[in-house]
């Protein structure tokens, strides 16, 4: 993914899941309350990873599995830890005080892979002394898997997005 592209993505440090998962009929494992919370925290960490560019982009990259994929509106596919970290590093405005990716309405369902989810996003340019505007909005559609390190995004699809207000980050 080239620098300067509009990208809307995340990163992770995880928590060890606890709580007994149940195995209902149909091969889909029921999610525990902590599973839901950890998956929600994953999606939130994605926003912090991207906006802060923390850990040289790896906070963002580590939200994904090592072979995790991000399918963007403009970029067909970004896959793997290094490529994903480069995406976060390309956010030129990023730093620990920068907030831009606001998420809401995170819906999660158990699935054969682990879980799937959908979450709303609005990217708001809101900086002191400057007029605010919504840069882009839409929703992600995700596949989550539980790894030994905790829940990770296996695939995030950002094709349900509007058009960005202007190019570049």
């Amino acid at each position: 993914m080239r620098k300067g592209l509009t990208v809307v993505v995340f990163g992770v440090c995880l928590f060890t899941a606890t709580g007994g998962a149940q195995q209902p009929a149909g091969g889909v494992t029921e999610l525990t309350p902590l599973d839901y919370i950890e998956i929600q925290q994953l999606a939130i960490r994605y926003a912090y990873g991207l906006d802060s560019t923390a850990d040289n982009g790896y906070m963002y990259a580590d939200v994904f599995t090592s072979d995790g994929e991000f399918v963007g509106r403009q970029v067909p596919l970004t896959q793997g830890r290094e490529a994903l970290a480069r995406v976060a590093r390309s956010v030129r405005k990023g730093n620990p005080m920068y907030v831009r990716h606001f998420i809401a309405n995170h819906e999660i369902h158990p699935s054969p892979e682990g879980a799937t989810g959908k979450v709303y996003l609005m990217v708001v340019d809101v900086e002191e002394g400057q007029p605010s505007s919504i840069y882009i909005g839409g929703r992600y559609e995700d596949v989550y898997v539980k790894t030994p390190q905790g829940w990770r995004i296996k695939r995030r699809d950002a094709r349900n997005m509007g058009t960005p207000r202007n190019p570049g980050l």
Partner: protein
């Protein structure tokens, strides 16, 4: 709306159902109950914005005798609710990218018959008509809900939308400076040195951040609701309460209560919180929360963002439950802005 029973509702809608249910002897809610109710609210937005399954997906979020009460009218029962979703609650136009209802600050409490809750709403127009970016619509306010547990899971017994309204003069919209301490990089959870947090811990800490917004916006209990989310000796550091004033540095519940004294009524919404990251820490837990201060449209003034930033918190578990021990607020600043400020400060420094 052809089959809908239209009931015009004023802004001073009675909040009696919510308050009554809340006051009656409640049973405790489990973490799973709270998660399922939270998921119900998330599904509501998708169902409305996509009109999934021809409105049936929306109707199925409600109990068989469930009711939605809005500004334009109310709908009760599956057929009316599906029709409401098909025809649109605000307008007949389906959002172009299927995204418009942003729900935040969802609080849930046990109540007679199940649970009650509140959730802020701001509606957004994303890329409508192919227009780049998005705009905040003129619609914002909050929902007041009653939930009931049915054989097929938690459902809305009643959801009422209450548009934003303040009974007191609206606050200043002028920008205010941020505190200058740099925000800390978020330590990896493995380095935090804390124990494990349970699902109940996460949910209780999440509720603190949301209750903070309700307390600050409404001024409920002359600031008591706002102050109740803090420990007795809590500290909060942030920008000045008024433009040109001193940075906000408060210590102790009573000092904090002074920050939320203005009674703006229960329909006032302004502080929209989201992205609450929570991690265990030696004190109990630490967290960060994004904030958008949104001034919902009033008269001829369109909806606008007054400011945005994030809080950095330390939470402790007291005998009365989780509380905020310290809170710092930071306005959003880009790397370029920070560099310009640093350059300006260096230029202003005396020569060595």
């Amino acid at each position: 709306m052809k089959t809908l029973r239209i009931v015009l509702l004023g802004l001073a809608l009675p909040l009696v159902p919510y308050q009554l249910l809340r006051a009656q002897a409640p049973a405790a809610l489990t973490a799973r109950d709270r998660i399922e109710i939270n998921q119900l609210a998330a599904r509501y937005a998708f169902a409305l914005d996509t009109r999934a399954n021809d409105g049936i997906a929306f109707a199925e979020l409600f109990a068989p005798d469930g009711e939605f009460v809005g500004v334009r009218g109310s709908a009760k029962g599956r057929d009316q609710l599906a029709e409401l979703a098909r025809s649109g609650i605000i307008t007949a136009k389906k959002p172009d990218v299927g995204v418009s209802h942003f729900g935040m600050n969802h609080v849930i409490e046990p109540a007679a018959g199940g649970a009650v809750g509140k959730e802020y709403l701001v509606m957004v127009d994303i890329a409508e008509g192919g227009k780049p970016g998005g705009d905040f619509s003129s619609i914002g306010g909050h929902y007041e809900d009653a939930y009931v547990k049915t054989a097929t899971g938690w459902r809305f017994k009643r959801r009422q939308f209450i548009p934003m309204k303040s009974v007191a003069p609206l606050p200043e919209s002028a920008t205010v400076p941020s505190i200058t301490r740099p925000a800390a990089a978020f330590a990896p959870v493995t380095a935090a040195g804390g124990g494990q947090l349970t699902a109940d811990d996460y949910l209780a800490i999440r509720a603190l951040a949301h209750t903070y917004a309700y307390g600050l916006d409404t001024g409920a209990g002359k600031g008591s609701l706002y102050a109740s989310v803090f420990t007795e000796d809590a500290e909060f550091h942030g920008p000045p309460a008024v433009p040109g004033g001193k940075p906000f540095d408060a210590k102790g519940r009573e000092a904090l209560r002074q920050f939320a004294l203005v009674d703006r009524g229960s329909a006032y919404v302004r502080h929209f919180m989201t992205n609450q990251l929570i991690e265990p820490s030696p004190e109990g837990a630490r967290g960060k929360v994004y904030l958008l201060v949104i001034d919902i449209a009033q008269s001829n003034k369109p909806t606008s963002v007054n400011m945005g930033g994030h809080y950095e918190d330390v939470y402790v578990k007291t005998a009365a439950g989780w509380r905020i021990k310290t809170r710092h607020f930071f306005r959003s600043k880009s790397a370029q802005t920070l560099k310009a400020e640093a350059d300006a400060a260096a230029g202003a420094s005396p020569a060595k």
